[in-house]
Protein backbone atom coordinates (compact mmCIF):
# COMPACT_ATOMS: atom_id res chain seq x y z
CA UNK A 1 0.00 0.00 0.00
CA UNK A 2 1.47 3.27 -0.96
CA UNK A 3 2.47 5.72 1.71
CA UNK A 4 0.12 8.24 0.16
CA UNK A 5 -3.02 6.19 0.85
CA UNK A 6 -1.85 5.33 4.32
CA UNK A 7 -1.45 8.98 5.13
CA UNK A 8 -4.77 9.99 3.68
CA UNK A 9 -6.90 7.36 5.38
CA UNK A 10 -5.02 7.51 8.67
CA UNK A 11 -4.30 3.80 8.44
CA UNK A 12 -1.86 2.32 10.84
CA UNK A 13 0.51 -0.40 9.83
CA UNK A 14 0.92 -3.24 12.28
CA UNK A 15 3.88 -2.68 14.52
CA UNK A 16 7.02 -4.39 13.50
CA UNK A 17 8.22 -6.93 16.04
CA UNK A 18 11.53 -6.44 17.75
CA UNK A 19 14.52 -7.88 16.01
CA UNK A 20 17.87 -7.41 14.42
CA UNK A 21 17.89 -5.21 11.42
CA UNK A 22 20.55 -4.48 8.89
CA UNK A 23 20.87 -3.64 5.26
CA UNK A 24 18.85 -6.23 3.38
CA UNK A 25 17.88 -8.43 6.27
CA UNK A 26 15.71 -8.54 9.30
CA UNK A 27 15.82 -11.25 11.91
CA UNK A 28 13.21 -11.90 14.57
CA UNK A 29 11.44 -14.74 16.34
CA UNK A 30 9.00 -16.87 14.39
CA UNK A 31 6.53 -16.68 17.26
CA UNK A 32 6.32 -12.94 17.01
CA UNK A 33 5.78 -12.84 13.29
CA UNK A 34 3.11 -15.49 13.51
CA UNK A 35 1.50 -13.73 16.45
CA UNK A 36 1.40 -10.50 14.52
CA UNK A 37 -0.12 -12.14 11.50
CA UNK A 38 -2.70 -14.00 13.54
CA UNK A 39 -3.74 -11.03 15.61
CA UNK A 40 -4.44 -8.87 12.62
CA UNK A 41 -6.35 -11.33 10.55
CA UNK A 42 -8.59 -13.17 12.95
CA UNK A 43 -11.51 -14.82 11.23
CA UNK A 44 -14.39 -14.71 13.65
CA UNK A 45 -17.27 -17.14 13.57
CA UNK A 46 -20.29 -15.27 14.90
CA UNK A 47 -22.48 -17.59 16.89
CA UNK A 48 -25.25 -15.09 17.50
CA UNK A 49 -28.38 -16.45 19.08
CA UNK A 50 -30.36 -13.62 20.56
CA UNK A 51 -30.32 -10.02 21.78
CA UNK A 52 -26.56 -9.75 21.99
CA UNK A 53 -26.45 -10.78 18.35
CA UNK A 54 -28.34 -7.62 17.44
CA UNK A 55 -25.71 -5.57 19.24
CA UNK A 56 -23.13 -7.50 17.27
CA UNK A 57 -24.92 -6.46 14.08
CA UNK A 58 -24.56 -2.87 15.21
CA UNK A 59 -20.87 -3.52 15.85
CA UNK A 60 -20.46 -4.89 12.35
CA UNK A 61 -22.38 -2.08 10.69
CA UNK A 62 -21.05 1.24 9.57
CA UNK A 63 -21.13 3.13 12.86
CA UNK A 64 -18.76 0.96 14.85
CA UNK A 65 -17.22 -0.85 11.94
CA UNK A 66 -15.41 -3.92 13.14
CA UNK A 67 -13.56 -4.04 9.85
CA UNK A 68 -11.11 -1.56 11.30
CA UNK A 69 -9.52 -4.41 13.17
CA UNK A 70 -9.09 -6.75 10.25
CA UNK A 71 -12.35 -8.56 10.90
CA UNK A 72 -14.65 -7.90 8.04
CA UNK A 73 -14.20 -11.45 6.90
CA UNK A 74 -16.71 -13.37 8.95
CA UNK A 75 -16.20 -17.03 8.57
CA UNK A 76 -19.41 -18.94 8.85
CA UNK A 77 -17.66 -22.23 8.48
CA UNK A 78 -16.05 -23.36 11.72
CA UNK A 79 -13.22 -25.06 9.89
CA UNK A 80 -11.67 -21.82 8.76
CA UNK A 81 -12.44 -19.76 11.82
CA UNK A 82 -9.99 -18.78 14.53
CA UNK A 83 -12.31 -17.03 16.89
CA UNK A 84 -15.65 -18.26 18.12
CA UNK A 85 -17.82 -15.37 19.25
CA UNK A 86 -20.71 -16.65 21.30
CA UNK A 87 -23.34 -13.97 21.62
CA UNK A 88 -26.60 -14.56 23.35
CA UNK A 89 -28.37 -17.11 25.45
CA UNK A 90 -27.32 -20.71 24.97
CA UNK A 91 -30.13 -23.00 26.00
CA UNK A 92 -29.47 -26.54 27.05
CA UNK A 93 -30.94 -27.67 23.77
CA UNK A 94 -28.33 -25.60 21.95
CA UNK A 95 -25.37 -26.76 24.04
CA UNK A 96 -24.42 -29.82 21.97
CA UNK A 97 -24.46 -27.77 18.78
CA UNK A 98 -22.17 -25.17 20.27
CA UNK A 99 -19.78 -27.82 21.39
CA UNK A 100 -19.81 -29.44 18.01
CA UNK A 101 -18.99 -26.14 16.36
CA UNK A 102 -16.11 -25.67 18.75
CA UNK A 103 -14.78 -29.15 18.09
CA UNK A 104 -14.85 -28.54 14.37
CA UNK A 105 -12.63 -25.51 14.64
CA UNK A 106 -8.95 -26.01 13.95
CA UNK A 107 -6.25 -25.02 16.41
CA UNK A 108 -5.40 -22.36 17.37
CA UNK A 109 -8.87 -21.29 18.40
CA UNK A 110 -10.08 -18.63 20.76
CA UNK A 111 -13.48 -18.17 22.32
CA UNK A 112 -15.09 -14.85 23.15
CA UNK A 113 -18.17 -15.01 25.30
CA UNK A 114 -20.28 -11.91 24.79
CA UNK A 115 -23.00 -10.99 27.23
CA UNK A 116 -24.15 -12.08 30.63
CA UNK A 117 -26.12 -15.00 29.24
CA UNK A 118 -23.24 -16.64 27.47
CA UNK A 119 -20.90 -15.96 30.37
CA UNK A 120 -23.07 -17.08 33.27
CA UNK A 121 -26.67 -17.59 32.29
CA UNK A 122 -27.43 -13.96 33.03
CA UNK A 123 -30.88 -13.18 34.28
CA UNK A 124 -32.12 -16.56 33.16
CA UNK A 125 -31.49 -18.87 36.05
CA UNK A 126 -34.04 -21.27 34.62
CA UNK A 127 -34.40 -24.93 33.88
CA UNK A 128 -33.76 -24.49 30.19
CA UNK A 129 -30.73 -22.21 30.02
CA UNK A 130 -27.13 -23.31 30.19
CA UNK A 131 -25.54 -21.48 33.09
CA UNK A 132 -22.54 -20.18 31.21
CA UNK A 133 -20.88 -21.66 28.15
CA UNK A 134 -17.73 -22.36 30.14
CA UNK A 135 -19.50 -25.46 31.31
CA UNK A 136 -19.01 -27.03 27.93
CA UNK A 137 -16.16 -25.21 26.20
CA UNK A 138 -13.18 -23.23 27.47
CA UNK A 139 -13.52 -19.47 27.19
CA UNK A 140 -10.70 -16.99 26.69
CA UNK A 141 -12.36 -13.63 27.19
CA UNK A 142 -15.65 -12.74 28.84
CA UNK A 143 -17.49 -9.56 27.95
CA UNK A 144 -20.04 -8.65 30.61
CA UNK A 145 -23.18 -6.66 29.97
CA UNK A 146 -26.73 -7.31 28.99
CA UNK A 147 -26.13 -6.58 26.17
CA UNK A 148 -22.61 -5.18 26.18
CA UNK A 149 -22.22 -1.97 24.24
CA UNK A 150 -20.45 -2.28 20.90
CA UNK A 151 -17.45 -0.56 22.43
CA UNK A 152 -17.27 -3.36 24.97
CA UNK A 153 -17.47 -6.01 22.29
CA UNK A 154 -14.63 -4.27 20.46
CA UNK A 155 -12.66 -4.17 23.69
CA UNK A 156 -13.17 -7.90 24.04
CA UNK A 157 -11.90 -8.47 20.55
CA UNK A 158 -8.85 -6.33 21.23
CA UNK A 159 -8.16 -8.51 24.24
CA UNK A 160 -8.35 -11.58 22.04
CA UNK A 161 -5.94 -9.95 19.63
CA UNK A 162 -3.56 -9.32 22.46
CA UNK A 163 -3.81 -12.94 23.53
CA UNK A 164 -3.17 -14.24 20.07
CA UNK A 165 -0.30 -11.84 19.51
CA UNK A 166 1.51 -12.97 22.61
CA UNK A 167 0.75 -16.64 22.50
CA UNK A 168 3.79 -18.84 22.19
CA UNK A 169 3.87 -21.29 19.36
CA UNK A 170 4.18 -24.20 21.74
CA UNK A 171 1.24 -23.42 23.98
CA UNK A 172 -1.21 -25.65 22.19
CA UNK A 173 1.08 -28.63 22.63
CA UNK A 174 1.78 -28.06 26.28
CA UNK A 175 0.55 -30.49 28.94
CA UNK A 176 -1.41 -27.70 30.67
CA UNK A 177 -3.40 -27.07 27.56
CA UNK A 178 -4.02 -30.77 27.05
CA UNK A 179 -5.20 -31.01 30.61
CA UNK A 180 -7.58 -28.12 30.12
CA UNK A 181 -9.03 -29.73 27.04
CA UNK A 182 -9.37 -33.05 28.77
CA UNK A 183 -11.21 -31.43 31.64
CA UNK A 184 -13.86 -30.50 29.08
CA UNK A 185 -13.75 -33.97 27.61
CA UNK A 186 -12.44 -32.77 24.28
CA UNK A 187 -9.99 -35.03 22.42
Amino acid sequence: MSQEIIKRTKLEIAKQPEGLEGPGFFATKVDEVIGMARANSLWPLPFATSCCGIEFMATMASHYDLARFGMERLSFSPRQADLLMVMGTIAKKMGPTLRQVYEQMAEPRWVLSVGACASSGGIFDTYSVLQGIDRIIPVDVYVPGCPPRPEQIIEGILKIQELSRNESGRRRNSPEYKKLMNSYGIE
Binding site: K92, K93, D125, T126, Y127, S128, V129, Q131
Partner: protein, 166 residues
Protein backbone atom coordinates in the same frame (compact mmCIF):
# COMPACT_ATOMS: atom_id res chain seq x y z
CA UNK B 1 -70.71 -3.10 23.95
CA UNK B 2 -68.95 -5.87 25.85
CA UNK B 3 -72.07 -6.52 27.89
CA UNK B 4 -74.07 -6.95 24.70
CA UNK B 5 -71.57 -9.41 23.30
CA UNK B 6 -71.63 -11.33 26.54
CA UNK B 7 -75.41 -11.53 26.59
CA UNK B 8 -75.71 -12.40 22.94
CA UNK B 9 -73.10 -15.12 22.97
CA UNK B 10 -74.35 -16.48 26.24
CA UNK B 11 -77.91 -16.70 24.97
CA UNK B 12 -76.93 -18.45 21.77
CA UNK B 13 -74.50 -20.90 23.31
CA UNK B 14 -76.81 -21.74 26.21
CA UNK B 15 -79.64 -22.40 23.80
CA UNK B 16 -77.50 -24.71 21.71
CA UNK B 17 -75.66 -26.44 24.54
CA UNK B 18 -77.88 -26.39 27.60
CA UNK B 19 -75.93 -26.58 30.81
CA UNK B 20 -72.52 -26.37 29.18
CA UNK B 21 -71.82 -22.77 30.11
CA UNK B 22 -70.69 -22.89 33.72
CA UNK B 23 -70.24 -19.17 34.08
CA UNK B 24 -70.40 -16.08 31.93
CA UNK B 25 -68.99 -12.85 33.25
CA UNK B 26 -67.40 -9.62 32.27
CA UNK B 27 -63.83 -9.36 33.52
CA UNK B 28 -62.23 -6.00 32.95
CA UNK B 29 -64.65 -5.36 30.14
CA UNK B 30 -63.87 -8.65 28.44
CA UNK B 31 -66.56 -11.34 27.98
CA UNK B 32 -65.37 -14.55 29.59
CA UNK B 33 -67.07 -17.94 29.46
CA UNK B 34 -66.18 -20.98 31.44
CA UNK B 35 -67.51 -24.06 29.74
CA UNK B 36 -67.69 -27.74 30.43
CA UNK B 37 -64.68 -29.49 28.95
CA UNK B 38 -66.76 -32.18 27.31
CA UNK B 39 -68.44 -29.60 25.13
CA UNK B 40 -65.47 -27.28 24.66
CA UNK B 41 -64.66 -28.31 21.14
CA UNK B 42 -68.26 -28.09 19.95
CA UNK B 43 -68.74 -24.70 21.55
CA UNK B 44 -65.59 -23.25 20.05
CA UNK B 45 -66.49 -24.71 16.71
CA UNK B 46 -69.98 -23.23 16.99
CA UNK B 47 -68.54 -19.83 17.85
CA UNK B 48 -66.33 -20.03 14.82
CA UNK B 49 -68.81 -21.28 12.29
CA UNK B 50 -71.98 -19.51 13.31
CA UNK B 51 -72.46 -16.89 10.59
CA UNK B 52 -73.66 -14.27 13.00
CA UNK B 53 -71.15 -14.70 15.80
CA UNK B 54 -68.31 -15.49 13.41
CA UNK B 55 -65.41 -15.67 15.84
CA UNK B 56 -63.18 -16.80 13.04
CA UNK B 57 -59.79 -15.71 14.34
CA UNK B 58 -57.97 -17.67 17.02
CA UNK B 59 -55.95 -15.02 18.79
CA UNK B 60 -54.44 -17.19 21.40
CA UNK B 61 -54.56 -20.59 22.99
CA UNK B 62 -52.81 -21.34 26.21
CA UNK B 63 -52.97 -23.45 29.32
CA UNK B 64 -52.93 -22.89 33.01
CA UNK B 65 -53.00 -24.73 36.29
CA UNK B 66 -55.50 -23.88 38.96
CA UNK B 67 -54.42 -22.74 42.38
CA UNK B 68 -55.40 -26.02 44.07
CA UNK B 69 -52.99 -27.82 41.71
CA UNK B 70 -55.64 -30.36 40.89
CA UNK B 71 -56.96 -29.02 37.62
CA UNK B 72 -55.56 -27.85 34.35
CA UNK B 73 -57.22 -25.38 32.07
CA UNK B 74 -57.12 -24.37 28.46
CA UNK B 75 -57.96 -20.83 27.46
CA UNK B 76 -59.02 -19.73 24.03
CA UNK B 77 -59.10 -16.13 22.92
CA UNK B 78 -61.34 -15.70 19.92
CA UNK B 79 -61.76 -12.65 17.78
CA UNK B 80 -64.30 -11.54 15.23
CA UNK B 81 -62.26 -9.16 13.12
CA UNK B 82 -65.00 -7.48 11.04
CA UNK B 83 -67.13 -6.60 14.07
CA UNK B 84 -64.15 -6.35 16.40
CA UNK B 85 -65.62 -8.58 19.10
CA UNK B 86 -63.51 -10.70 21.36
CA UNK B 87 -64.37 -13.49 23.77
CA UNK B 88 -62.38 -15.69 26.06
CA UNK B 89 -63.43 -19.30 26.54
CA UNK B 90 -62.01 -21.20 29.46
CA UNK B 91 -62.36 -24.83 30.26
CA UNK B 92 -60.99 -26.85 33.14
CA UNK B 93 -60.44 -30.54 33.67
CA UNK B 94 -58.86 -32.78 36.22
CA UNK B 95 -55.12 -33.37 36.20
CA UNK B 96 -55.66 -37.10 36.47
CA UNK B 97 -57.05 -37.20 32.99
CA UNK B 98 -55.80 -34.10 31.19
CA UNK B 99 -57.47 -34.67 27.87
CA UNK B 100 -59.33 -32.36 25.59
CA UNK B 101 -60.10 -32.48 21.87
CA UNK B 102 -57.81 -30.54 19.62
CA UNK B 103 -58.95 -27.51 17.65
CA UNK B 104 -56.39 -27.98 14.89
CA UNK B 105 -59.26 -29.14 12.69
CA UNK B 106 -60.73 -25.66 12.99
CA UNK B 107 -57.55 -23.62 12.81
CA UNK B 108 -54.29 -25.04 11.48
CA UNK B 109 -52.63 -22.26 13.46
CA UNK B 110 -53.61 -23.94 16.71
CA UNK B 111 -51.03 -26.62 16.05
CA UNK B 112 -48.01 -25.10 17.75
CA UNK B 113 -50.00 -23.38 20.44
CA UNK B 114 -51.35 -26.75 21.49
CA UNK B 115 -47.92 -28.30 21.32
CA UNK B 116 -46.63 -25.53 23.55
CA UNK B 117 -49.44 -26.11 26.01
CA UNK B 118 -48.64 -29.80 26.02
CA UNK B 119 -44.99 -29.03 26.52
CA UNK B 120 -45.65 -26.76 29.48
CA UNK B 121 -48.59 -28.42 31.19
CA UNK B 122 -48.97 -31.88 29.75
CA UNK B 123 -52.44 -31.32 28.36
CA UNK B 124 -53.16 -34.08 25.86
CA UNK B 125 -55.00 -32.76 22.84
CA UNK B 126 -56.92 -35.65 21.40
CA UNK B 127 -56.62 -35.86 17.63
CA UNK B 128 -53.64 -33.54 17.36
CA UNK B 129 -51.57 -34.53 14.32
CA UNK B 130 -48.18 -34.22 15.96
CA UNK B 131 -48.32 -33.81 19.71
CA UNK B 132 -44.66 -33.55 20.65
CA UNK B 133 -42.66 -31.22 22.81
CA UNK B 134 -41.83 -28.05 20.99
CA UNK B 135 -39.67 -25.77 23.09
CA UNK B 136 -38.02 -28.15 25.50
CA UNK B 137 -35.80 -31.08 24.73
CA UNK B 138 -37.61 -34.26 23.82
CA UNK B 139 -36.09 -36.17 26.70
CA UNK B 140 -37.58 -33.93 29.35
CA UNK B 141 -39.95 -35.85 31.60
CA UNK B 142 -41.57 -33.03 33.58
CA UNK B 143 -44.05 -30.39 32.57
CA UNK B 144 -42.13 -27.36 33.71
CA UNK B 145 -44.88 -24.78 34.09
CA UNK B 146 -46.82 -26.82 36.59
CA UNK B 147 -46.45 -25.24 39.97
CA UNK B 148 -44.78 -28.20 41.62
CA UNK B 149 -41.66 -28.03 39.46
CA UNK B 150 -38.89 -25.61 40.30
CA UNK B 151 -37.86 -22.76 38.08
CA UNK B 152 -34.18 -22.66 38.83
CA UNK B 153 -31.49 -24.60 37.15
CA UNK B 154 -30.73 -27.51 39.46
CA UNK B 155 -27.08 -27.84 38.55
CA UNK B 156 -25.82 -24.62 40.05
CA UNK B 157 -23.76 -24.84 43.18
CA UNK B 158 -22.67 -21.23 43.59
CA UNK B 159 -25.88 -20.05 45.19
CA UNK B 160 -25.51 -21.09 48.76
CA UNK B 161 -27.76 -19.49 51.32
CA UNK B 162 -24.77 -18.99 53.61
CA UNK B 163 -23.96 -15.83 51.72
CA UNK B 164 -27.21 -14.32 52.84
CA UNK B 165 -27.01 -15.37 56.45
CA UNK B 166 -29.97 -17.69 56.16
Amino acid sequence: MSQEILDKVNAQVSAKFPGAVLSAELLYNFPVFTVDHNDAHEIVSFLKNDPELNFHFLTDLTGMQTADEKHLGVIYHLHNLPKNMRVRVKTFFSMDKPEIPTVTDLWPGANWMERETFDFYGVKFKGHPNLKRILNVDEMDIFPLRKEYPLEDQTRDDKSDKMFGR
